[in-house]
């Protein structure tokens, strides 16, 4: 590893960790960010890849919350993103503050289906959403692997806590051009 590599906000400290028995927020609110100068494109709005970066940081905060950190990865396992579907609702410019939510929609022994929302500031309008499928992998073999029980139990608890939330309208919806 060199210093040139992309270091995400989820790396390091500052994000909440799992506390056994503590109430689980629905949805989780683990990550905030400010739109960086390098995130905006020639239209002076946040670029596509910057949304992926910001949602990726939110996913990293979630990983840290459930216990997937440097040590967990050093032991050979991680969660990989296999699919991401972004919906953009509203443009956002440099210097604006962002707050993120994350909910667990579904899971099995290897996969976690999550949904992120990005809001302007605190309680501002919805800017974008991301639906993602994450897979637990054995990194050296490069293949999916069942999650250890301790991790699965945490995710099951989060899934139960999030079952009360209404299903977002875009979940599972394919992309198409609607003609009037």
């Amino acid at each position: 590893m060199t210093d040139d590599r992309l270091v995400t906000a989820g790396e390091g400290t500052g994000h909440p960790r799992w506390v056994a028995g503590a109430p689980i927020p629905a949805p989780l609110r683990l990550h905030r960010a400010t739109v960086q100068p390098s995130w905006v494109d020639y239209n002076r709005h946040m670029s596509e890849s910057s949304y992926l970066l910001a949602f990726g940081d939110n996913a990293d905060a979630f990983f840290r919350y459930i216990g997937i950190d440097e040590q967990y990865r050093a032991d050979g396992h991680s969660l990989y993103t296999v699919e991401t579907h972004l919906h953009h609702r509203r443009e956002v410019g440099e210097g604006e503050s962002l707050s993120m939510t994350l909910r667990v929609l579904d899971l099995d022994d290897k996969r976690v289906h999550v949904f992120h929302e990005m809001f302007l500031g605190d309680g501002g309008p919805l800017l974008a959403t991301a639906e993602q499928m994450l897979v637990h992998v054995e990194m050296r073999a490069g293949r999916s692997a069942p999650m250890p029980r301790a991790l699965a139990r945490r995710l099951e608890a989060i899934h139960r806590a999030h079952a009360q939330l209404a299903l977002p309208e875009t979940v599972g919806r394919p992309m198409r051009i609607n003609r009037a």
Binding site: R5, T8, E48, L53, S78, L86, H88, R173, R176, I177
Partner: protein, 165 residues
Amino acid sequence: MGERPTPFSTYSTVVREEWLDYNGHMHDASYGIVFSDANEELFAALGLSVDYSATARASLYTVECHIRYLAECSLGQPLRAATIVVAADARKVRLYTELLHEDGRRAATGEFLYLHVDTALGATTAMPTDRHDRVQDMLGAHAGLPRPSHLGLGVGAPRAGLRDT
């Protein structure tokens, strides 16, 4: 023309160090950079890129993006892109782009929906006729290309796409 249709395939790149994540593979967001750059080359060919947005006070905004990550990419690997205009009208363009390794394996696929937006009004507006004609020409040229079975499916659809061509 009578020629066999081919996807728009001018873009190629090499995986850069700053695109890697803590696992030493290309970060999710870096695929987004590559997809955006590849799609921008197509829009430049249609006269709908940076210069257009500066003079026309209109631009293509991404409203939806669906990426499937299929294979890891590591430092120094060459990548190329192949894009099909899947659907389009005067206000919307839908693209399907594959990122391919040197041996033809797919590293990722992306579906993108763009709206043509009047940047002053912040509302969709019809493209000028000349631009719309170019888009329709490319749409027509790509009409004969095979459509992958995973096109237009939601997240978590069965991964038949891993085996199709």
